[in-house]
Amino acid sequence: MDETACQRREFLRQLLLSCFSLGGILAGKGTAGPAVSRSAEEYDPRSHSWGMGIAIDKCIGCGRCADACKKENDVPTGPFFFRTWIERYVILEGGEVVVDSPNGGLDGFKLQPQEKTVIRSFFVPKLCNQCDSPPCVQVCPVGATFKTRDGVILVDSKRCIGCRYCLQACPYGARFIDPRSRTAEKCTFCYHRIVKGLVPACVEVCPSQARIFGETKGGASPLARFMRMYKIGVLKPSLNTSPKVYYAGLDMEVR
């Protein structure tokens, strides 16, 4: 077989694959699981229970999720306010751990030369864990932070008094104060999108499908499949917050 034939075959294969994936996107049936877009009025929160799966080995640290989140949700710019961010872990010989998240990983990560041999390295996307037992909801003095029936933790910015107790209570550093509204802010799983049958912006843009969004209960959701396929871990399980962001391939160094 000559080289030209080989290249031609490869080209045809790529073309065929592209057609399939394009068809999938047009039909709105990407593996991340967006159903057909519908109006928010039809949405019944009682029939949903949302969660997110993150496959750490698939994350390439491109930062598109953090970027999309900021744009979609009008998150203040600058490296101090994030609804989602990406951390890079580098574990060196001898057990030393180097973690960084320059600008929340939004601009991607530059290669960081290490003096010691790197044992393993990976990226960990972080966001509000939408805990089933949320400490932030427990401490909010006025009930501005609440859990919806579909299990998402939201903040009513018209009620929030900006006391910042929820920021102290969150073990994951997932909250910040929006300097414009002076109220607490956090990931909402892009609630305005999920009520329309769309997936959160970070899931939508992830090029490696490291983020999977779906129902935590019920059989046929992408998340349910994710949880069957992988061994799952959650962040800080000892705090008994029951997170609904599930990590596949979670390393013991991640907190």
């Binding site: 009930g143 008094i161 900006g162 102290q168 073990p171 550093g173």
Partner: protein, 400 residues
């Protein structure tokens, strides 16, 4: 927003290790340090006052009314730093209207209102009622009417009425002691119940807060008693001062033991967070925790009080030592609040890095407004002492 970013960029450069991006802004600043400091003084001063009424410690009688007014002055100012701190003070009243029953902070409004209305104001009123009536009788003009108003236009000074007043004060004090415990214990609970923060999360926190409150309250009243007595060119009642110093000493011993227990317990258990907490104590908190809080604010005054008690030094020297010790104790308790509130936010919840706290000079969260808030209760106390003189010589004899 640009101003905030301007404030945060230099902090970002001083972060060591890794902290979560949202942690670069330190969320509870100096105003939240001042708040527990003020409520601690309220509780402490009240508990000192209750020694006279409930435990019949006759020696400290000269400080009874001063303690009550001190507690009232500090309680009036206590919510101000919180109001100044929150993002939407205009919504603060929501805490009363739509409290979240699972929130420790939501109970603030109720504990505060209870303590102000049902304890302090009532006790002050019953204790002063007869005197205020007597003063009003001998006065003219607006002051007469002000005193009549304060007495709520009651005019009875009969034996029966006065004995009722006395009984009322005793009952209110009895209710007041657990209320004072509640007021400051609850502040400790606000911190102690945050399981996300290993520096705060401790069942001992409310009790440590309480005893440090008693320490700070006694020390403050001791200082105020000495300053006001000397200022009025009167003689300091030495048995009273000695007794105050003794109670200060006992409270400090309990407080120090509790803090030491907490410290030893943490080291012995050596949980996941021990590494970062050790870095915190040996680095960013070394001066404020080890040098100021423990050595200057606790060990030195404790040693000084012990020495003057053992050596039986002359009264003049005792006064000086008590005064300086009480000053150091104030500094120590203020740094205790600082080390809890600020210290608990200097390390990342990832336990991988440390940040810094930068206080500005101006602005609501700045040094100047903090100094104003710290001075304000003393101004209120000055005003109250003009209206309701707490000095022993102004009290009518039959009522003592």
């Amino acid at each position: 927003m640009d101003k905030l970013a301007e404030h945060l960029w230099p902090i970002l450069r001083q972060v060591t290790g890794f902290i979560f991006p949202n942690e670069i802004e330190l969320h509870w600043g100096i105003l939240v340090v001042i708040y527990p400091y003020l409520t601690g003084l309220v509780a402490g001063a009240f508990i000192l006052a209750s020694l006279v009424k409930v435990f019949n410690v006759k020696e400290v009688q000269p400080t009874y009314r001063l303690s009550l007014l001190t507690a009232l002055s500090y309680l009036i100012v206590a919510p101000l730093p919180l109001l100044a701190h929150i993002g939407h003070p205009e919504r603060a009243f929501e805490i009363f209207l739509t409290p979240n029953r699972s929130s420790a902070m939501a109970m603030f409004g109720f504990v505060y209102a209870w303590y102000l209305m049902a304890v302090l104001l009532l006790e002050v009123w019953f204790d002063y009622r007869k005197d205020v009536i007597v003063w009003a009788e001998n006065e003219r003009g607006p002051k007469k009417w002000l005193h009549r108003l304060i007495a709520l236009f009651s005019t009875t000074t009969s034996e029966k009425a006065v004995s009722f007043d006395k009984r009322a004060v005793r009952i209110i004090t009895l209710v007041g002691i657990p209320s004072a415990f509640l007021l400051h214990g609850y502040v400790g609970f606000i911190f102690g119940s945050v399981k996300a923060n290993p520096w705060w999360s401790s069942v001992l926190m409310p009790i440590v807060f309480l005893f440090s409150a008693i320490v700070s309250g006694i020390a403050l009243v001791l200082l105020l008693y000495m300053i006001t007595t000397l200022g009025r060119r009167k003689e300091i009642d030495m048995p009273c001062l000695d007794k105050l110093a003794s109670y200060l000493f006992y409270a400090m011993i309990v407080d120090f033991s509790l803090e030491a227990l907490d410290f030893i317990h943490r080291i012995y258990e050596s949980e996941e967070s021990i590494g970062i907490l050790s870095q915190l104590i040996s680095g960013r908190l070394f001066i404020s925790l080890i040098v100021i809080q423990v050595l200057l604010g606790m060990v030195l005054p404790l040693g000084a009080i012990v020495l003057v008690k053992i050596l039986k030094v002359p009264a003049e020297l005792r006064k000086l030592v008590y005064f300086l010790s009480a000053l150091l104790v104030q500094l120590g308790i203020f740094t205790t609040r600082w080390n809890v509130v600020i210290g608990g936010q200097l390390f990342s919840k990832s336990f991988r890095g440390l940040t810094v706290y930068k206080m500005s000079l101006g602005g609501i969260e700045g040094l100047l407004s903090s100094l104003v808030l710290l001075a304000l209760p003393l101004l209120v106390l000055y005003g109250l002492s003009k209206l309701l003189p707490p000095w022993p010589e102004t009290k009518s004899k039959s009522n003592s």
